[in-house]
Point group: C3
Chain length 476, copies 3
């Protein structure tokens, strides 16, 4: 690229060859997508000709574009955008002889996955065997082409002809797009499925969150509402709306947060046990590790709801009623003598909750693509690992303090079941104990081998490899 | 581009031609911008020479750069950056003969729009007719050039010479910038106006928000504060600060949220009525649809304020005073008997509010450029349409529950006016009813034509076209 | 680039030269990084051959890649990625004759800064003098190469051979990366240090925040808790957790917010005093101005904590206890008579706090790279300057109202020390007064010179230069 930028280029008399900006491109199809694409191409300095069945009556087109019949339009340009639904590709078959050697950019998308046995691009190639079909740019909608900034937007390309792909790549680069080549036309399935996917990586975490929420909701419904109704004949069903939900959300949130850190610990143990870093993890562990970000974000969403529910507590009718009736009953003994320990415990409980939510929030911020992308690798690791474990510790402590004086009271265990907050402390406690054991093991190892300075200088993965004597330690 | 990366390139003896990195560029002007630009160019591997009136006394320049007189500097380089205010372009006229064939990159900006009848770039071209003027890069400030990462930043270019633009484009790409070509030099007005615009797309939504806020503020001021003063002779003016504002904000927020979804429904009805998808919408509807994002974000901001105001309620002096005096008055009858329905109603009210805000917040998150940009088109549509309507339903229900037992009480209608929350429910209710009718119409259509499977597979827009028998269904 | 896209390119018979996608690249090292890089290169259409000491037993490699001995692999390709730890570079020395003229891309990173006297890249160049070493791409981790979108990610390059760098740049561009050339191989230190840095620009602001927090914590600990213990013999130590922290956080937050705007005012005064805009600022002022964003974000974090702490107040045991015991004591006189001024004052206090936090939050939003990047320069300046000063005014007023009726009470000055909120108002008040003086000075100047229209049209910096008669006013 740079080799061409030498002073000589400017001394060449102008006008000797047609300036590249005036290159003519053809668009088949005058629908929303065709029109938006044409307008954007005209803005970027290309000339555009539309191919249409009825050139006289095809509705409003961007000013500056020509409209001709398909055959005429195709002859003028070497690159043709296909902005027609797959159902109407058949007319191309009859034009096949005139389209030989042309680059076809197939931007079409289907309504749903696997509607047809083959992909649109392969079908197109079969209809016009002489064309150089490039599948791609199909993640751009008409709306984005008209309004959005395209700069840095990623688009995919695939095709069998390297030169055709190169031409499309340059055109896309000129539009400001960032192009990713996915290989030959056989990758068209993947490229066509991309705009149709609906949060695929969120499915598993959402299932886990829903399952845990449902379980704890019914568990606490039985323990709290139904127990009170059966044993004490009290109707406290109104608590379902706020009190119950405000128990379920933090419980599920804490469990899901610890599920983000459990696979890391398990993978490390597996590596220690197997004695090598280079064998593959089992599939379920791989899948789990890949959805940690989504698990964490769902946990953050539930924590956010918990915070909102907590702040709303003092305005609730039931809470105010209880406060007033406490006073009315002239039950002076309980509240009047100020219990310093109680004050310390509840305040610590709140502070740990606030700090936990604050750290949670920071973790969530670094998951924003633009924030995470601006961190160096070491910074990202620091945030996700150090800050993440700190968050887990603080939130777990928040849970422990909640029940600090209730663990040993028999009244806590209604119908012989443990309360929800006890159940939710199991997984985080296991994760933290395992993590602690691994850190202790590592420190112990360092002391034993007298490489005390290694403690500070060499990162753990290198260490592990040395422990296990793998022969791969040369390579990064 | 790629065709040049073949093994042969490396076998060519080094040093046979001057390496491209050492290309010499000229900068006229040694102000902040000129110096920052020069420093960045030097970092990227170019050589830089400054042209100055007083080469001996032009202050600190980046190390490694030369300073010469304008004429001398211009002769050495083929590309010249003009970092001089338009008011001082006149010196270029006298140099015109020496500047023939040079590429001029005009980075200048004016202090405000329409200061001069013609653009700076066109004025420059008139002064030096032989130069190849390219307007562009003017969105880069001296600060960004010195400190910021340029990677992916979008800059605009325009100019009449394709080769000159190509040279500037390559240079900008080398700096990591993403270049958008806006066409010939006649687009310079647009390019020069860009750095001067101040939230143009926020004006209309801000006007609507301000107008609605002012209207409801005075309406509620009269109904609440002045009514109490006139009829009951009570001074409750302190309520202006929190209570009144906390009524105005949610009212305006809900109306603005529904205004985001009203134009979509209106457009769909218009299409059904006209029987075609392809006629243009009236201008006001187009304008309205283009500012939906800003409307929604302002509505979110007001909802956020509403949440903060609500959480602050129980700490307020007036609220505490009322609570204490309720108890003092020994008015035991009202609060002492616990009203289960009241508890359910208020708790549901709060839960709907929290959930509505949570959904609102998710909608707002996907408006962040980096989050929205990482969604596929189908995901973005899902969030903005499905989640958006759900938010509207939840928030409207929040409003209805607020007044569930007040609709029929005469005391609600002070001075024969309806309370604010009733007024604010009108627009959202209309939007939701119209949307419901459209969904029912669509389902009914599907059942009638026995295409029950179409209900699931074919998206609505395709459907509409079939209903209306438009001849355009072939094109995307 | 664009000059190559002319229709002729497609008429050339295919297959006459090897398509560029099939270019062969060599990777030395089969560790995590080597394997991830290979997989990504294969996806992008390159052929990949690995060089390994034991080609027969080097574990799982991406499908489609070849494995050969180092010598054999090197002979096939002209570009070799070095994915080996520096400690094991020595084997390259023995291969030096075969590696002459090859482009080496050194992706290695060390465990910490300054582990070795020279950089890895320079060491490599010394070992294989005939190779064209390019240091770069070392900010990409194995994880990002496998999973992340590379589009728009910034990578650094440096090297002595322009052609070698050009080849690597094109390859990186093909991968979607955005390349920044840092010059010759002597810049390798900087490039190698980049992935090792840990929030360097956050250090100073974090130190300031920690220092201020510690100071005010101990100051208020003495004034509040210890004073009560010593003078009144009361144990109110539980207040450390919430009440004390909720005083320290807003105090430090307000001071740090004003520290964001102090250097700007100081710089302007310095310029006025020196009579020129073009002399350099002292180093400490430069450093201060560069960390304003971080100062502001830390201030926002503390304000966020203050908000959370405030909302939690009414649920606290101590607060409820106090409320109940107030009622119990039948101390009817104080709360029963409603004090309208008190209601106005506290409500205004809360409203200013909410509005201040809201503005703070908006400022923080525009610091998100993706939001800030989508603003024009004028918009960014408007937000950071106008909105920032407004935030400072509102938050300072919030502080003043807090103490509106306490300034003159002797009981406020326990042990002759001023309360914390008074101390925290000093810096913001100074900043606001200085800013006001400068604005008044500017208005006065405009009136004096009868250029009243200049008040609206000409920006301040231009004005200043005219005042000071500097000869540089021609250049931007």
């Amino acid at each position: 690229m740079a080799t061409e930028v030498n002073p000589g280029i400017f001394l060449r008399p102008l006008g000797m060859e047609p300036p590249p900006e005036r290159e003519l491109l053809c668009i088949f199809g005058t629908g929303d997508l065709g029109r938006s694409l044409g307008q954007r191409l005209l803005q970027t300095g290309y000339r555009v000709v539309y191919g249409s069945r009825r050139p006289q009556s095809c509705g409003p087109l961007p000013p500056g574009a020509q409209v001709l019949s398909h055959t005429e339009a195709a002859q003028l340009a070497s690159l043709i955008f296909i902005c027609v639904h797959r159902e109407h590709y058949d007319f191309l078959e009859t034009l096949a002889p005139q389209l030989k050697g042309k680059v076809f950019v197939d931007l079409s998308n289907n309504q749903k996955k696997d509607m047809y046995p083959d992909t649109n691009a392969e079908y197109l190639q079969r209809l016009v065997p002489g064309a150089l079909v490039v599948k791609g740019l199909n993640t751009l909608s008409a709306w984005v082409l008209l309004n959005g900034p395209l700069a840095g937007k990623q688009v995919f390309l695939c095709g069998d002809s390297a030169e055709a792909k190169q031409a499309v790549r340059e055109l896309a680069t000129r539009l400001g797009l960032s192009v990713l080549d996915r290989g030959s036309l056989s990758a068209a399935r993947e490229v066509e499925d991309f705009p149709l996917q609906l949060f695929p990586e969120w499915r598993l975490p959402l299932c886990i969150a829903t399952g845990l929420t449902a379980f704890f909701f019914f568990y606490l419904l039985i323990r709290d509402i139904i127990y009170a109704y059966v044993e004490q004949d009290k109707d406290i069903s109104f608590r379902i709306m706020v009190s119950l939900a405000n128990k379920v959300f933090p419980i599920v949130s804490l469990i899901m947060l610890s599920l983000c850190y459990l696979p890391g610990v398990m993978a490390a143990i597996l590596q220690l046990y197997r004695g090598t870093k280079y064998s593959r993890f089992p599939d379920w562990l791989d899948r789990w590790m890949l959805c940690r970000k989504q698990l964490g974000l769902l946990a953050l969403a539930l924590a956010f709801l918990h915070v909102l529910y907590t702040f709303i507590i003092p305005i609730r009718y039931a809470v105010r009623h209880k406060l007033i009736s406490t006073v009315m009953k002239d039950n002076k003994s309980t509240p009047f003598y100020f219990d310093n320990t109680e004050a310390w415990a509840t305040d610590s409980f709140f502070v740990l909750g606030i700090m936990g939510f604050f750290l949670y929030f920071l973790l969530g911020l670094t998951s924003l693509p633009s924030v995470g992308g601006s961190l160096s690798w070491r910074e990202f690791t620091f945030v996700q690992s150090k800050l993440g474990h700190l968050t887990l510790i603080v939130c777990t402590a928040h849970g422990y303090i909640y029940g600090w004086n209730k663990f040993l009271k028999p009244s806590t265990y209604k119908w012989w079941t443990p309360p929800g907050y006890m159940l939710c402390l199991v997984v985080p406690s296991v994760v933290l104990v395992l993590k602690l054991l691994m850190v202790l093991h590592y420190i112990f190892f360092c002391i034993c081998t007298r490489q005390t300075d290694a403690l500070h200088h060499v990162d753990k993965s290198i260490k592990m490899r040395k422990i296990n004597g793998t022969k791969k330690s040369r390579d990064i």
